[in-house]
Point group: C2
Chain length 161, copies 2
């Protein structure tokens, strides 16, 4: 049996909804700090990692800049400068196609793919450290509840159904 404490410590929160939100915030903050121990030494942020990951999935097809922005896990209004940094580190390439010069197509470089390879194992260990103490049933339950929680706040056709 899973063993989540049932006590809600009434009084410390204005409402159950607020209690959920603050717990979500706190939990995200704790787990994020663990992930940063992996990304920091590699010289990238988790946002940047997610760009590289997305590009690797589509590789060798390039992906337009704003398509990347829309598929990010957290909002990325600053996608241009983020890609600037990745390009400066030679992890991605930009191409402006002559048939539609509005777009900028992004693709991951060999260096980018290599970096992903280096990160894979430490990152797997990190995820295990973050949440390995929960059993599969609770993990699956959590995924479902989180999805339900944000469902009304998702835009149209995003990748995060």
């Amino acid at each position: 049996m899973s063993s989540h404490s049932k006590k809600s410590q009434a009084g410390r929160f204005d409402s159950l909804e607020q209690e959920v939100y603050l717990n979500l915030w706190r939990t995200y903050d704790r787990l994020r700090s663990i992930e940063e121990e992996v990304f920091g030494p590699m010289g990238i942020t988790s946002q940047q990692y997610n760009v590289l990951r997305l590009l690797a999935v589509h590789h060798p097809e390039p992906v337009p800049t704003l398509t990347i922005a829309n598929r990010m896990i957290s909002r990325a209004p600053d996608i241009t400068r983020m890609l600037d940094k990745l390009e400066a580190s030679s992890l991605i390439q930009r191409v402006r196609p002559s048939e539609n010069r509005r777009m900028v197509l992004i693709s991951i470089t060999a260096g980018g793919l290599s970096l992903l390879g280096e990160i894979a194992e430490p990152l797997r260990q990190c995820h295990s450290k973050q949440l390995g103490h929960l059993n599969k049933k609770d993990l699956a339950l959590l995924v479902g509840l989180l999805r339900d929680a944000r469902k009304p706040h998702e835009q149209e056709k995003n990748t995060w159904s």
Copy 2:
């Protein structure tokens, strides 16, 4: 009955742990953007709101700077400048007691209390918009799972058991 989809879309994630973490991140990001619609127009951030809230709970007793930092929901290495801003807006006061001049004691002002009063109702509505679509059972379940998820990553004696 609650109706969380059971499909985990295998293949999009490296592990169930990673899937949980990315869902946590995404969900936090969506809900946060809703909260910012409340705090933005009031001229404070949600971190600053939490400082004021904490001080209000202890009012009229003051609270030392680093005690505030340790009780924040997300880490606050920049507590000094955050308090600078709140002091500049006359929402808090600082006192350095002569019997121990290492500490700086912080207390909320009448203006700070008044701001909390103005925010209370819009914030309640915000929390309802964020999570009001979930039933009480799912909300309670979520609180428990989130607490379990971060439990091994909490320090000693913090307020976020």
